[in-house]
């Protein structure tokens, strides 16, 4: 059935609702027209976001960007100092981020400042 149909046609038929799908898990046997694969190669954008200035920003840039881009931090909701402390602790102890211990207070200070939740 569907195995003799051109693959290029499948999305079109699906979009038009013309193709009756088989029951879930239904097998189309035998595989006389197996899937053909093309190698894939892509380049990912580097991104353009940066941290706004503030006390501790250098410590954040130095320690946090190895594993993820700034948006991961910039898009967090306002979090308390306690929550940020837990997050930094998780990054270091669970995810083994190579954060310099002496930088931790500055990092937490910046993140809390960013959230506007500093006392």
């Amino acid at each position: 059935m569907s195995c003799v149909m051109s693959r290029a046609l499948l999305p079109v038929l699906l979009a038009l609702g013309l193709l009756a799908l088989g029951a879930p898990g239904q097998a189309a046997e035998p595989n006389d027209k197996p899937m053909q694969f093309k190698s894939e190669s892509i380049q990912l954008p580097f991104g353009s976001s940066d941290f706004p200035p503030g006390p501790g920003v250098d410590a954040v840039k130095k320690n946090c960007l190895l594993c993820h881009s700034p948006r991961m931090i910039l898009y967090q909701p306002p979090l308390t100092k306690e929550t940020w402390t837990n997050e930094v602790d998780k990054m270091m102890n669970v995810f083994k981020a190579p954060v310099v211990k002496e930088d931790v207070p500055a990092i937490i200070g910046y993140l809390t400042h960013l959230s506007g939740t500093a006392e």
Binding site: S2, G25, N31, M35, Q36, F37, R71
Partner: protein
């Protein structure tokens, strides 16, 4: 669901995020979307720079988190590959995969360890097809109250595709699972940083052999985009996306439960109805996240829309039952006091999106709250109050839109 309105604006060092200037391309006009996340930041860039992808909501550049713009869900019951959401835990993903030399290994507690090429997988095993929703465990996390840290998704970390591939069961049977097997551990080509835990997940052996769990090599009739897991991705129908390992190249049969970080510590939910608990509540038993719960969305109307009084208002959208099919979809125009049945579209498979439509008439001018509610075939309906848990998982509260009839 306040606003998914896309606005085009030039950000000349202006603050998109309440005090955070987030850009270094100030002269370029950028298309932004407001995800209406309570307390913000709610604005995100719509990006078209990613290979294999059309317009996507940029949540994080590295490792990529790309959300499907919500309007896509109004167009088709199947989510196109070039707008299917992308979620990687670690930034260390290969940017090329060679189709001829790629190998899938099956080993561990088996009689005959196997190494299978893509060509062999496609030729030697029966091809199966299945429509299924792939939804991130944390889809809609950004709407949690109180907010929780994590990927701050709107509602677009989900999609429905027609998956084609082979049954995991058939591959396991070829290797011969030994007596005493407990779980099957799945891992892909992505790597973690240094000593960090690699992202790997396990399924119980009976689940892995249920004949529905699939190793997919095609998505909507095409090979998978690399960002969605080319060349092979696990499909676990009715279960959250965390188990749908991308770039699958290793299957290990275990004779004891997997205690790796991503099973034992992460992706845990309260073992309560709707994965619900109170913020700060202590001693709540936690279990690994598992089956998807029902959801439904209005896709053709937006908060603040004005509609004509006294005439039928076309409402439409998508619903899914989760681990079973959609039994019914109801709509309300009075904030949930009364409900009317919606008409269901074609059934493309119980694990997929189901389109629905309704045409209620708003008889007097004024403000209305429109709602939609899905009940699945197990009788589970969406709740009218949102759940909460510290991971921001499994949101499925009834969605609503405020609009004006006049």
């Amino acid at each position: 669901m306040a606003g998914f309105l896309i606005t085009r604006r030039t950000l000349l060092g202006a603050s998109a995020l309440g005090g955070l200037a987030l850009l270094s391309r100030p002269s370029l006009a950028r298309t932004m979307v407001d995800l209406a996340l309570p307390g913000g930041p709610a604005e995100r860039e719509i990006i078209t720079d990613y290979p294999e992808k059309a317009a996507m909501v940029l949540q994080r550049t590295r490792g990529p988190l790309l959300e499907t713009p919500f309007g896509v869900f109004d167009k088709s019951v199947f989510t196109p590959n070039d707008q299917f959401f992308v979620r990687w835990h670690w930034a260390f993903i290969p940017n090329s995969v060679d189709a001829d030399s790629f190998e899938l290994k099956i080993h561990g507690h088996v009689n005959q360890p196997l190494t299978v090429s893509l060509k062999e997988l496609a030729k030697d095993f029966p091809r199966v097809e299945l429509a299924a929703v792939n939804q991130c465990s944390g889809n809609s996390r950004g709407f949690f109250a109180p907010r929780v840290p994590g990927g701050e998704w709107g509602n677009g970390a989900m999609g429905n595709a027609l998956w084609a591939g082979v049954r995991l069961k058939d591959v396991l049977d070829r290797a011969g699972v030994k007596a005493g097997a407990v779980q099957v551990r799945l891992s892909g080509l992505d790597q973690a940083f240094a000593d960090a835990p690699r992202f790997i997940k396990s399924l119980d052996i009976d689940h892995a052999r249920d004949g529905e769990v699939m190793i997919a090599y095609a998505m909507n009739g095409e090979q998978l985009p690399l960002l969605n897991g080319f060349p092979l991705r696990v499909v676990v129908p009715g279960w959250y996306s965390t188990y749908w390992i991308k770039m699958l190249n290793d299957i290990e049969v275990l004779d004891k439960p997997d205690d790796n970080f991503w099973m034992a510590k992460a992706y845990k939910i309260p073992d309560t109805p709707g994965a619900n608990m109170k913020p700060g509540e202590a001693d709540v038993p936690m279990v690994p996240i598992n089956k998807i719960v029902p959801r439904s969305f209005i896709t053709n109307l937006r908060a603040g829309d004005k509609v004509v009084v006294g005439a039928p208002v076309p409402m439409r959208g998508i619903a899914f039952g989760g681990d079973c099919g959609v039994s019914k979809v109801d709509v309300s125009t009075d904030g949930g006091k009364t409900w009317l049945p919606a008409k269901l579209g074609k059934d493309e498979g119980k694990y997929g999106f189901r389109q629905w439509q309704a045409e209620p008439t708003l008889s007097a001018s004024g403000n209305y709250t429109l709602m939609v509610r899905c009940t699945n075939e197990n009788g589970l309906a969406q709740p009218d109050t949102p759940n909460w848990n510290p991971g921001g998982y499994m949101r499925n509260v009834i969605e609503s839109i405020d609009l004006v009839a006049g």
